[in-house]
């Protein structure tokens, strides 16, 4: 069965997005097109869905295109990236290429040379079949190095991970030199082994390369594996931060998937911090949420109407739902065009997943 690749188009201009996605439907491989208007939503979506190609604008509010690309290079090194910008500044072009983008295209040029633009995109979508190590997803770098050494081959392995490039020199199955991030020898080799993913390329052997590594490759691999084990087990502050970041991204993805605008979790005053995603005015809304739940609860007791189940509200801009819980109250914001009927169930589901 033919694989339909997914393309994510990120631009803050909704009209441009519409036009752009319409043009992409003319690609011969008929990829699936998704569009987003903010960098945060794009990142959240990429966490949940595999994309083959990201087409990104540069000038955007809050998170600009370069910031998005920097994150993408780090988190999704396999993703092909294209910058489609109206900024005709060479500085931006070089900065984008420095971040490892596959293609930089001007919006004006795209309109002039549409066919060429589409051909380039099609080529990027199909490059997977051109060979190299990009396709070996289930093998770690250790496996690849061991395979090269066991087959007693002589080669130079060029490894790329986003903007980072490293090289390993293997001669007659022996690792003789390594170069990465400004380091050489065993230090460089250890750094390279920490890479979890990337792309690999075999270059011709360089038999005259200076030997900087004297230990056997198996000894080095063993040492590195032990070192990685030791660093992976203790919970360091950085990994806690990463976990928090991952959780935030996951929650953003949840919001995007459910098409909700924002969620605020407001614990009772002085009983913890407000947690919010998707809105700037966190404190005023959290205060209103608490107060609304409190006023409604008190009213329910006063008129003997039973416990408060929920509170809904709307104005021209959005629909709101307050879900009171024992320890905190939640406020979920929905766009005005979302059907009101299933809103309560959708909000409950969202909150249940949010808290899980």
């Amino acid at each position: 069965m033919e694989i339909r690749h997914k393309i994510l188009v990120l631009d803050d201009d909704a009209d441009w997005l519409k036009l752009s996605s319409e043009l992409l439907t003319h690609l011969p491989s008929k990829p699936e097109i998704r569009t987003v208007t903010s960098g945060a939503r794009a990142l959240a979506l990429m966490e949940t869905e595999p994309f083959r190609l990201l087409i990104c604008d540069l000038k955007m509010p809050r998170i600009d295109g370069l910031q998005v690309l920097a994150i993408v290079r780090r988190r999704f090194p396999e993703l092909r990236t294209v910058v489609l910008s109206a900024l005709e500044d060479e500085e931006f072009r070089s900065r984008a290429y420095a971040l490892g983008v596959d293609l930089f295209w001007l919006k004006t040029e795209m309109q002039r040379n549409l066919q060429m633009y589409l051909d380039c995109l099609e080529s990027l979508l199909g490059r997977e079949t051109d060979g190299g190590f990009r396709g070996i997803q289930s093998k770690s770098l250790m496996d690849i190095i061991q395979m090269e050494c066991l087959s007693r081959s002589s080669t130079v392995l060029r490894l790329t991970r986003g903007a980072l490039v490293a090289k390993l020199w293997i001669q007659d199955g022996e690792l003789i030199d390594a170069e990465a991030e400004g380091t050489r020898g065993e230090t460089a080799f250890r750094r390279i082994l920490a890479w979890k993913s990337g792309t690999f390329e075999n270059l011709p052997a360089e038999p005259n390369r200076e030997h900087t590594i004297t230990k056997s490759v198996n000894a080095l691999l063993l040492e590195s594996a032990q070192a990685m084990d030791e660093t992976a087990n203790p919970v360091e502050p950085e990994s806690v931060e990463q976990a928090a970041h991952r959780k935030t991204i996951w929650k953003l993805a949840l919001l995007t998937r459910e098409n909700a605008e924002f969620v605020i979790a407001a614990p009772a005053e002085g009983r913890g911090e407000v947690e919010a995603l998707g809105t700037q005015s966190v404190q005023p809304l959290a205060h209103w949420t608490r107060r609304a739940a409190e006023v409604a609860r008190r009213l329910g007791e006063h008129i003997e109407a039973g416990p408060l189940t929920h509170l809904g509200a709307h104005n021209l801009e959005r629909q709101l739902l307050v879900l009171p819980r024992e320890d905190k109250s939640y406020l979920v914001g929905w766009p005005p065009n979302v059907e009101a009927g299933p809103l309560l169930e959708k909000s409950k589901k969202l909150i249940a997943s949010w808290d899980s």
Partner: protein
């Protein structure tokens, strides 16, 4: 006989408060201007409903989120309030097993 009277004296029963049904209009001060709720229902409680609904609208405005309508869902009563130039029109629907599911 006095002994028997003490045994069979009718104890004061707990009053079961009826839930209000109908609509009321409250001005910006929270005074009930018009009402279709049964006159047997406590005026004080109606005023309390009006006052609390206005609090919700006012505090939402203060949070830079003016609201057009608020629906408060209790297990046995649903209150729908529409903002009306600082005051509100409030609809009160007692909930029964046959009531439609809340949205």
């Amino acid at each position: 006989m006095g002994f028997l009277k003490r045994l069979f004296r009718i104890r004061s029963r707990a009053a079961v408060q009826q839930l209000p049904s109908g609509s009321i209009a409250v001005d910006r001060e929270g005074n009930v201007v018009t009402s279709t709720v049964s006159s047997t229902y406590s005026k004080d409680l109606l005023r309390a409903i009006g006052r609390d609904v206005l609090v919700l609208f006012r505090e939402a405005r203060e949070a830079q989120m003016p609201l057009a309508e608020v629906n408060i869902h209790f297990v046995s009563l649903c209150i729908t309030a529409r903002e009306l130039r600082g005051g509100a029109v409030i609809f009160l629907f007692p909930q029964t097993a046959l009531s439609p599911l809340p949205t």
